[in-house]
C-alpha cells in the first residue's frame, strides 16, 4: 500500500481526523464542503504541515509520526502537487517554473516538449506567471506536476479556471496518465462528474463540515 | 599585515633591513609632519614611517590601548602628562618642540573692526571658540578669565581649524584660535594679534616612547633629530610656530 494516513490536525477552532489508505496506482477522489480540510489534508501529505497527532506513511516508509517525532522534509517525500489556485513561483518564467527543482536536462527532453504541447504552453514559456490569464496559469501548474517525477500526486481542484475545451483535454490527459502512473493519486474536486470520471470507483469520499470530520476509507 | 605590526625582534641597526617608525602627531601638525616625513624618507629609505594624525586625546587613548608607537607629538602638555603618568613616556624624554600663541581671527579686511579682546564682547559680534576639551579652548578660556572678559561664544568648535573655517565662511565675525591658523592658506581670514602680556603661550611637546615599538633605536633618534634640527625648525617657522 502506498499512502497510509491516520492522523489528526488541529488549528485553533478547526480540527480534522483523517484515516485513509490508498494503494499504488489508485486514484482517491475527495470532495467536501468549503473549509472542511481538503487542502489541509494535502498539505500534510506533502509535508508542508505536520500532523498534530498520528502518522503518515508513503510506500511503507514513515514520513510523519507524532509519537516518535519522525518527519521527512517536503523535498524528500516524492510528492508532486497541483496547488489550489496555481502556486507557481512568481519570480520565475513559466519554463523555469516547469523544471524547477529538476535540473537542466529536463528542459531538453522530449517529455518536456510533449507536456508543453499537451497543455498548450509553447507560446507562454518565456512569460512570468503574472503575465498569464487564470486558465493559462492553471495549465502551467498542471504541466509542472505532470513533469515532476513522483510517488504521490496531489491535485487540488486541478480544473478550476479552465475553459470547457481545456477541461475536457485535461480530464483526458489525467485519465491517460493515471492509467500508467505507478504512484498514488489524490484528487480534490467539487465536480462530482470529474471525480466519477477520473477517480477509482470505490474511492470517493465526502468530507463533512464541523468541528471534527472523519474520513475513513481505503482504496485497494 | 598582521605580521608587519607584530614586534619582530630585528637588529637595532638602521642600515640592515626594513624597519618601521610609528609617529603619533596631533592633527593640527599634520601638514608640517607630512613634509618632514617625506624628507626623512629620502634620507632613510629603508625606514618606513607611519604617521597617525588625530586629536591629542584620541592619541592618548590609542596609545594606552596598545597602539604601536615610537614618537608622540602633542598639542599641549596636559595630554603628554597623561602619557607620562601612565608610564608610556619617561618624563626625561619630553622636550618642547614648538610654541604657538593665540590670535583673534577675523574676516579679511576686518569688517567688524575688531582690534582687541574687548571688542569680542560687543553684542553685534558673533564669536566662536574652541571647545574646552581642546587645548586652544582651554588656553582661550584661561586668557579671557585672566582679562576678566565674559563672553558667550556662539559655538565651541572641536578644533582650531574649525574656528578658522567658521570665520572664513562668515558664520562668525571673530574667533580665537592660534597665530598659525591665521597663516594657513585662506584668502578670507586675517589674524589680529593679541598683545603678548595678555596672550597665552602654548607648547607642543615631543617625546619618544619609554618602550618604543620599533626595534630600530637609531631611526627613532634620527627622526627626532630631524624634527628638532634645521629642517624641523624651518618647517615649523614657515607654518607660523615659534621655536622654544
Amino acid at each position: 500500500m502506498s499512502l497510509v494516513m491516520r492522523c489528526r490536525f488541529v488549528r485553533e477552532a478547526f480540527s480534522i481526523d483523517v484515516d485513509l489508505s490508498v494503494a499504488s496506482g489508485r486514484v482517491l477522489g475527495i470532495t467536501g464542503e468549503n473549509g472542511s480540510g481538503k487542502t489541509t489534508t494535502l498539505d500534510m501529505i506533502a509535508g508542508l504541515l505536520p500532523c498534530t497527532s498520528g502518522s503518515i506513511r508513503i510506500d511503507n516508509v514513515i514520513v510523519d509520526d507524532e509519537p516518535t517525532g519522525q518527519f521527512v522534509q517536503a523535498e524528500h517525500r516524492g510528492v508532486a502537487t497541483v496547488f489550489q489556485g496555481g502556486g507557481l513561483l512568481p519570480h520565475l518564467s513559466i519554463d523555469r517554473n516547469l523544471v524547477f527543482g529538476r535540473g537542466r536536462t529536463l528542459r531538453a527532453s522530449t517529455r518536456f516538449d510533449d507536456v508543453v504541447e499537451a497543455f498548450d504552453l509553447r507560446t507562454l514559456l518565456a512569460r512570468k506567471p503574472h503575465e498569464l490569464s487564470g486558465g493559462q496559469r492553471q495549465r502551467a501548474s498542471l504541466a509542472r506536476a505532470f513533469l515532476s517525477p513522483s510517488r504521490i500526486l496531489l491535485l487540488d481542484e486541478p480544473t478550476t479556471f479552465l475553459d470547457v475545451a481545456s477541461r475536457g483535454v485535461v480530464r483526458r490527459l489525467m485519465k491517460q496518465w493515471f492509467a500508467i502512473y505507478e504512484g498514488t493519486v489524490v484528487l480534490v474536486s467539487h465536480d462530482p462528474d470529474e471525480i466519477d470520471d477520473v477517480a477509482d470507483g470505490s474511492a470517493r469520499v465526502r468530507v463533512s463540515r464541523g468541528a471534527m470530520t472523519e474520513a475513513v476509507l481505503s482504496v485497494a | 599585515v598582521a605580521a608587519s605590526c607584530s614586534s619582530a625582534p630585528s637588529g637595532p641597526t638602521s642600515g640592515a633591513g626594513e624597519s618601521e617608525l610609528n609617529v603619533h602627531v596631533a592633527a593640527s601638525l599634520s601638514a608640517v609632519f607630512e613634509k618632514l616625513g617625506d624628507e626623512f624618507a629620502s634620507q632613510f629609505p629603508d625606514v618606513t614611517i607611519r604617521f597617525n594624525f588625530a586629536g591629542s586625546s584620541t592619541l592618548v587613548t590609542q596609545i594606552r590601548e596598545g597602539a604601536p608607537a615610537d614618537v608622540v607629538v602633542m598639542a599641549d602638555s596636559a595630554n603628554m602628562d597623561k602619557l607620562v603618568s601612565n608610564g608610556d613616556v619617561n618624563a626625561g624624554d619630553v622636550d618642547e618642540l614648538a610654541r604657538n600663541e593665540l590670535a583673534i581671527l577675523v574676516e579679511k579686511g576686518n569688517p567688524s573692526a575688531i582690534t582687541s579682546l574687548d571688542d569680542l564682547t560687543r553684542p553685534d559680534v558673533r564669536v566662536v571658540l574652541c571647545d574646552e576639551a581642546q587645548p586652544c579652548g582651554r588656553y582661550a578660556s584661561q586668557m579671557l578669565e585672566a582679562e576678566r572678559i565674559d563672553l558667550t561664544p556662539a559655538s565651541r568648535e572641536l578644533s582650531a581649524a574649525a574656528v578658522l573655517s567658521r570665520v572664513a565662511n562668515g558664520e562668525a565675525d571673530a574667533g580665537i584660535a592660534y597665530v598659525t591658523d591665521g597663516m594657513l592658506p585662506n584668502d578670507n581670514v586675517e589674524a589680529v594679534r593679541i598683545p603678548s602680556q595678555v596672550n597665552v603661550t602654548t607648547n607642543y611637546p615631543i617625546a619618544k616612547m619609554a618602550k618604543p615599538n620599533s626595534g630600530d633605536a637609531n631611526a627613532v633618534e634620527a627622526f627626532i633629530a630631524l624634527v628638532r634640527g634645521p629642517s624641523g625648525d624651518e618647517a615649523l617657522t614657515n607654518a607660523g610656530f615659534t621655536l622654544p
Binding site: L48, D64 | A133, S155
Partner: protein
Amino acid sequence: MTRRLSHPRGLALIGLPAAALVILPIAAVVWRTPWSNFWSAISNETARNALTLSLRTSVIATLLALIFGTPLAWFLANSNLRGRSIVRSLVVLPMVLPPVVGGVALLFAFGRRGLVGGLLDDWFGIRLAFTETATVMAEFFVAAPFFIVVMEAAFEQVDRRVMGAARAFGAGPWRTFLTVTIPLVRPSLIAATVLTWARALGEFGATIAFAGNTPGRTQTVPLAVYSELESGNDSALALSMLMVVISVVVLVALRSRWFGALRRGGE
C-alpha cells in the same frame, strides 16, 4: 529533528561571526564604563541638555524624513518621468559624502555666504548656523537618504493588483496609498524609520560642521561625547551607554507594539 518544514541548516550559524563582531565591542564598552560614577556623569546639566536635544532633533528629523521622504520614495518607485534617475542619484549622494563634508555643503547652501543662506539672511534675517534648526537639517541631510532608499525598494515590491482592487472598490488614489500601500510596506517602513532615527541620533560630522557645538543649543550627545572623550573624560562612555539604553528601550517598545501588530497581521 523538528516536525515542521526545516530551515536551511547552518544558515543561522553563518550569522554568528557578524553577531560576535558587533556584540563583543558592546560588551567591552559595558565592561569599561565607569559605572560607579555613572549617575554623576549623566545627571549634570550639559549631559541632560545634550540628551533632550539629541532626542528632540533626531525625532523631528525622522518625522521629516517620514513625511517628505515617503512621497519622494514613492515618486522614485512609480514615476516614469525622465528626471527620475537623476533625482535618485542626487538623493543618495549624502550617504557617500563624508559627513563633515556634508556639513560644509550645508554651510555652502544655507550658511550666511551660502547659495540661499545669504538671501535668507538679507530678506528675512534668518541665520541658520548655530541653531537647533541647523541641527535638525544636518541630521535630516545625512539620515533621510537611508529612509528614501529603503522605501523606494519597498514600494517597488508592492503588488499593483492589490492596489487596483482597492481602487475598484471606491478608494481614491490617496486613500489607497494610505490604507493599502502603506500597510503593505509596513515592515520596511518600520525598518526605514528605525534606521533613519538611529542614523540621525548618532550624527556627528555634519552637525558639528553646520550647526556648531553650543552646549544647551546645538550640542547633541555625539558632540558632547566627543568633547568628553577629548578631555580624557570617562563620562563619555557613561553618556554613550545612556543613549544606548534609551535607544534600546525605545526600539523594544516600538517593536513589541508595531511588530507585534504586524505579526498578527501576517503577510
